[in-house]
Amino acid sequence: MLKINNLHVNVANNDIIKGLTLSIKPGEVHAIMGPNGAGKSTLGYALTGRDGYQVTQGSATLNGTDLLDLEVEDRAAAGLFLAFQYPVEIPGVSNMEFLKVSVDSQRKARGLETLSSSDFLKRAKAACKQVNLPLAFLKRGVNEGFSGGEKKRNEIMQMILLEPVLSILDESDSGLDIDALKIVAEGINSQRDGQRSFIVITHYQRLLDYIKPDFVHVLADGKIIKSGGPELALELEAQGYAWLESYDRNAQEASA
């Protein structure tokens, strides 16, 4: 489904991602862990096409479509979704309007008919309830005055409504208490249908107790330095990243 090959990303004249290769099949959940500054968020921004995140080398395709060649909104229409680490507040634009325009835009781009208002309202209410936000949040400005946890749940609500084929969740667990964490995890799990895939970026093993990943990758200094199954996350939790970096250095020295 998603194929990233030897990706290099430059931000403000700094190389952040330096040769990342990753392949994700339909239905898989991949966790990406790694120390601060490793390039985890940069990966999400580069794939979604944020200005200033320049791909200097490599490729990324989603179901055979070259993502890097598309406008931001066309990548979304192709089925890519990024749950932001810091969702943006847009006062004056109601959450409801924002969601309706988003869903309509994507449906149009995919050649589908737009939903009737009542149909959309039904879906929006259901999604809102699913992430345990009061319905009043649909009428409020996008993320305006939401708490950190409410913003994260609002991201999951958008994901539920937009039905992307590949979701990148950028620290969707950060700043959440245990109840909110469960709600977010359940929201994500409800979307796992064996076809849709997920990249879960996180610092902590905790989230992975609730979202069982198929693979865990460690990203450090712009590269995946180790991949494994869920047990790798437990090892990291127990030993930290320092262990890995020395491991990696030793390996490099051995191969040199």
């Binding site: 979604t48 096409g49 944020r50 200005d51 406008e71 931001v72 909104e73 990548r75 979304a76 229409a77 979704f81 990024l82 932001f84 969702p87 943006v88 847009i90 006062p91 004056g92 634009v93 309007e97 924002f98 325009v101 988003s102 835009s105 994507q106 781009a109 400005g141 958008q158 937009l162």
Partner: protein
């Protein structure tokens, strides 16, 4: 002197009523005041020469087709309506039955109200040229009195519409007794060539609360010059909302005078201008005593060859300490030929105050743009959504849900018709 002014003075000299002593003062001032030109600072960007060029008739003139009031109804407002057509009070179309504690009289009935004469011209600045015109010519209008401790739940809507070639001058006097509470809506509509001046003076006594709306929605050929002037007592509150659609000339002066401590005034202003429209707001906040709070948010969207003028003055008097004053003016230009003339004027004579002002030509926020695009919304649609959100944020802040709900689609439609070029 222009013919128009000569005729105005001639008309004014014939008026004889309870306001005559006040009119005489203003008339003598008017005679010694020069017709404003582009060199007159307060009228620098305002094309008032259009008034001289046109010929208007008063509503009594048989050639004026006095129609019914054409102001849009505001659904679910359930207001006490005061209806004016070309400046003439239409009693039969207005609400007759008033709640307890509320007295409404037409301006001509003011002779019976001792407070009305002493309140007249106490809040409006003396030297406003068209204010003087209004002083001398306004024989129609209304006087609203809310008794002490009365909370009037029903909003009062003063609806004025204007037909072709009409000239009208109306005056509104409002008094809120101590701890009184009321909502007053001044609605002005009409897009044909006409000329009106409409000035309103509000006295808000101690601990009283006024929720105010001026819907200055005259468009196209209409010429409108007016003002709303507020006098705030101790611990009183004003929450004002002004909507400005431009026309060939639309000018509003807003004065907020804090005369009692702990008074709090907030004014939100939306301009939405297209074509060759002009809208000019001159605001002045006077903090004459300590411990006052004032906040102004002025947001303009200006398209095509329209011209938005905002002159915002904040005057903090000597010894008026501990004042919090904020003035934010944000503008969005949709065309290279549109104009925004914004000028903050701060005069601060006290040393322990916080006074912040900003005036920006807004760009669309990059982060918000990326957020919308990442959800599949194309740049053009995102721009419309964000630009409308920019003014809708102030609509969201309106306390009267019926007005907000009525206004939103109207603003959206007006905005949708504007072109980005």
């Amino acid at each position: 002197m222009s013919n128009w002014l000569a005729e105005t003075i001639h008309q004014a000299e014939k008026i004889d009523d309870w306001l005559s002593p006040k009119r005489a003062q203003s008339l003598s001032l008017l005679k010694s005041t020069a017709w404003p030109t582009r060199q007159t600072e307060a009228w620098k960007y305002t094309p008032i020469n259009v008034i001289e060029r046109a010929v208007f008739k008063s509503a009594n003139d048989p050639q004026i087709q006095a129609e019914q009031n054409s102001c849009s109804k505001i659904p679910n407002l359930q207001a006490i309506d005061l209806i004016f057509v070309d400046g003439i009070f239409d009693r039969s179309a207005s609400t007759q039955l008033l709640p307890e504690g509320l007295t409404i009289s037409s301006l001509s009935e003011g002779a019976d109200l001792s407070w009305a004469l002493s309140s007249f011209n106490q809040t409006k600045p003396k030297h406003h040229f068209f204010g003087l015109i209004n002083d001398t010519l306004a024989t129609q209008g209304c006087i609203i009195d809310v008794a002490e401790d009365q909370c009037i739940d029903q909003p009062i809507r003063i609806a004025q519409s204007f037909s072709l070639d009409s000239q009208s001058h109306t005056r509104i006097l409002v008094r809120l007794g101590k701890r009184a509470k009321v909502t007053v809506i001044e609605q002005l509509q009409g897009d044909q060539l006409s000329f009106n001046t409409s000035f309103a003076e509000y006295q808000i006594a101690d601990h009283a609360y006024l929720e105010h709306y001026r819907l200055a929605m005259q468009c196209e050929q209409a010429i409108s010059v007016g003002g709303c002037h507020f006098h705030l007592g101790t611990s009183s509150q004003l929450n004002s909302n002004l909507i400005g659609f431009g026309s060939q000339l639309s000018r509003v002066d807003m004065d907020i005078i804090h005369t009692g401590e702990h008074s709090n005034a907030k004014a939100n202003v939306i301009y939405l201008l297209d074509g060759k429209e002009v809208f000019d707001l001159h605001s002045a906040i006077e903090h004459t005593v300590a411990n006052g709070v004032s906040e102004q948010n002025i947001r303009c969207i200006v398209a095509d060859r329209a011209n938005a003028i905002f002159n915002g003055r904040i005057h903090i008097h000597r010894n008026a300490q501990k004042i919090l004053a904020a003035m934010n003016n944000r503008n969005l230009l949709l065309s290279d030929n549109a104009q925004i003339n914004t000028k903050p004027e701060l005069e601060i004579y006290a040393d322990d105050v916080r006074c912040a002002h900003s005036a920006t030509i807004a760009e669309i926020d990059d982060e918000a743009m990326f957020y919308l695009q990442s959800r599949g919304v194309n740049r053009g649609d995102a721009q419309v959504l964000l630009s409308f959100g920019f003014i809708n944020e102030l609509v969201d802040q309106m306390n009267n849900a019926a007005i907000a709900q009525w206004l939103r689609p109207i603003l959206r439609q007006r905005f949708a018709n504007m072109e980005i070029r």
